[in-house]
């Protein structure tokens, strides 16, 4: 075992990258859950975004177009969920599971001809002299634009939820859909927009895995990150700031176990690979005592005449 092989600066820079798919998927789901909807289809939307983004990036040669397509693909798939839960008034848990099962199949179907293809690279932003600052430079100023977009999205979500009227309405719908309806807000419309936002974010998160983090396409490559994102929202008590913290914690663990695998630690690879999932469970257990932060209408179906 040779722990000195792990470069701390590269490690930190690496876990910022590892955390980004989680940040996108989780911030999207946070908004969805704030509107009172539980969408368990994150994994399905992520993997669909991963292949949509990958395919479009390969065909057009532009990674940024790929990310746009991933957002569109994720949002489109989430519309199916919106239709089931908002119009057909189906159970949200079952509909979310359906979305995940469907998304996994659909992505495998779309991705058949892209196995083994190399996607175009999205270059890092050139910060000029900033990147030369010792330690901080290589960690903070050597990333692609999407990573910074993720951070901006978290900040924007926090600000919108806390300070704007739109954020207040969204939270009102999530806390009590009946009261929001009585005040004249269009509960279903607001929720549908929230669901689509969640889908778009999950799509971008998925594409970040297939275009930047890995970068290639393999079936089922999201490997449960969508589910970890769901856990992360609970972990964060539905607060964007804590969500960021949690995403870095999980990103750090993922990166650490990969580095340990590389360094040849005396723990079998399989047991290291289990660790992010086991730690998710442990964190869920520690935090499950406090559910007071959950939106009060979370998971309940809204029908105006009830």
């Amino acid at each position: 075992m040779d722990l000195s092989a792990i470069n701390p600066i590269l490690f930190v820079a690496g876990f910022l990258v590892a955390a980004t798919p989680l940040i996108f998927a989780a911030i999207g789901e946070l908004v969805v859950e704030k509107s009172g909807v539980l969408n368990l289809g994150v994994e399905g939307m992520m993997i669909t975004g991963a292949i949509c983004g990958f395919a479009v990036a390969v065909e057009t040669g532009s990674p940024l177009l790929g990310f746009a397509a991933a957002a569109a693909g994720g949002a489109l798939l989430s519309l199916l969920f919106a239709f089931l839960t908002q119009i057909a008034l189906a159970n949200q848990v079952a509909s979310g599971l359906a979305l995940t099962l469907f998304g996994l199949g659909l992505s495998a179907l779309l991705g058949q001809s892209y196995v083994g293809v190399k996607p175009p690279r999205l270059g890092d932003i050139d910060f000029g002299p900033l990147a030369d600052i010792p330690v901080i430079g290589p960690i903070v100023f050597t990333h692609d634009v999407i990573l910074y977009l993720g951070l901006a999205l978290v900040a924007a979500t926090w600000a919108v939820l806390k300070f704007t009227r739109a954020g207040l309405v969204l939270r009102a719908v999530g806390e009590s859909h009946d009261a929001a309806h009585a005040l004249g807000y269009h509960v279903k419309r607001i929720r549908t927009f929230a669901i689509m936002f969640g889908g778009a974010c999950a799509g971008v998160g998925g594409a970040y895995i297939s275009l930047i983090r890995v970068p290639q396409w393999t079936e089922g490559m999201t490997a449960g990150i969508g589910w970890i994102a769901l856990a992360l929202v609970v972990f964060a008590s539905w607060k964007p700031g804590r969500l960021l913290l949690g995403a870095y914690l999980f990103g750090g663990i993922t990166q650490l176990q990969l580095n340990l695998q590389g360094a040849g630690v005396a723990i079998p690879v399989e047991y290291l690979a289990m660790s992010p999932y086991l730690i998710t469970i442990i964190v869920l257990v520690i935090l499950s005592a406090d559910k007071s932060a959950a939106p009060a209408s979370l998971g309940r179906t809204f029908h105006a005449s009830q």
Binding site: A90, F102, Q112, I281
Partner: protein
């Protein structure tokens, strides 16, 4: 303008009709998807639904129906008990793997002992493996209120890593020339879950699935516990007042579904699969979720739905080899089925009213 009006009672007729409507809609849209993939839709549908049952080689495919259907029914019966009560075990795939590992582990430990006792012990091992894996989310839920959906799902990934570790390490065949995977249990007579009637596909897993169907039917219609399950799902508050113990219910529902999934895994690994290998699991644990809903969470319905889903697996394989239909297309097809089912379920609980909305 279409309005929805909640029915005072779910419609029995639509409750029975929605699965059929969903299957029809899936055939139509699935056919459309096959057409987009450049395959003749009608031929594809016939290949999937007709060939395995009545085609030229049906004698070969019909036993497959039992082999593929048994694990689906076994797992789905367990899941349906929890789903009815609002207890969501979606980690059956993990429990299936752990059942297979525990069961096969018992068998491999006894190798090469020749005794009638080996197989029953393996069955116990399989049941225990699935049960204990499901007890993790169950205990965490009752002790700490942890969400069982996320925990059971996370444990699927843990179980998959465990499976990889076992088939490359502890359970690897010492005479396997270094190839991954365990000894083939099909060649170890005392452990082999053989067809009870040669070539019929009827192995112990099929028997267990049928027993599970009967057990669930009796439980839900005649037993107090079944009543508790139904009340909890339909009116949780009323359940509390009527003295239902939610802790026991969680332990029972998750435990039973884990146990049945574990059994399914054992019967598979000791029979049709034969070996513990890295990719021995094929997603029955997830497909069983579709089976449970398609069967309306009713034991008899699940039996039929399991048969139908097994048909799409076998038909999908045929379509893959004969028409070059991609395997993923069948996965999409199965996913569609659940979508349409959930969508059409609207008609069970609501009445469509046409005309203008009157002002109250």
């Amino acid at each position: 303008m279409i309005r929805l009006e909640k029915r005072p009672q779910p419609s029995r007729a639509f409750s029975l009709a929605t699965p059929l409507l969903a299957v029809l809609a899936t055939m139509v849209f699935g056919g459309l998807m096959f057409a987009l993939l450049g395959k003749d839709p009608v031929t594809s549908i016939i290949t999937i639904f007709w060939q395995p049952l009545f085609g030229e080689f049906a004698f070969y495919y019909r036993p497959q129906l039992l082999i593929k259907g048994a694990p689906l029914v076994l797992i789905a019966i367990g899941l349906s008990l929890g789903f009815k009560a609002g207890i969501w075990n979606i980690g059956a795939e993990g429990q299936y793997i752990m059942g297979a590992l525990f069961g096969a582990g018992v068998g491999l430990a006894f190798y090469p002992l020749d005794s009638f006792i080996v197989f029953p012990l393996m069955v116990l091992g399989g049941a225990f493996g699935g049960w204990i894996w499901a007890m993790i989310p169950a205990m965490l839920k009752v002790k700490f209120g942890t969400n069982e959906i996320l925990v059971s799902l996370m444990l699927v990934y843990v179980a998959e890593q465990f499976l990889a570790s076992m088939s490359l390490g502890l359970m690897k065949n010492p005479e396997g020339f270094g190839f991954p995977g365990s000894r083939n249990l099909q060649q170890y007579e005392s452990a082999f879950n053989a067809d009870l009637i040669e070539g019929s596909g009827m192995h112990w897993g099929v028997v267990a699935a049928l027993i599970a169907v009967i057990f669930a039917y009796v439980l839900l219609t005649k037993h107090r516990l079944g009543f508790a399950i139904r009340v909890t799902g339909e009116a949780p508050r009323a359940a509390r007042f009527s003295g239902v113990n939610p802790t026991r219910l969680v332990l029972f529902c998750l435990g039973t579904s884990g146990l049945l999934a574990g059994l399914a895994g054992l019967f598979e690994v000791a029979g049709p699969a034969g070996q513990v290998t890295i990719d021995f699991n094929v997603g029955y644990g997830f497909t069983a979720i579709i089976v449970a809903f398609l069967g309306r969470l009713h034991p008899i319905g699940i039996l039929l739905a399991g048969g139908l889903m097994a048909l799409t697996y076998i038909g999908g394989d045929i379509a893959q080899s004969q028409l070059g239909l991609p395997a993923a297309a069948i996965q999409v097809f199965q996913g569609m089925l659940l979508f349409f089912l959930l969508a059409f379920d609207l008609l069970t609980n609501y009445r469509l009213r046409f005309g203008r909305t009157e002002v109250a």
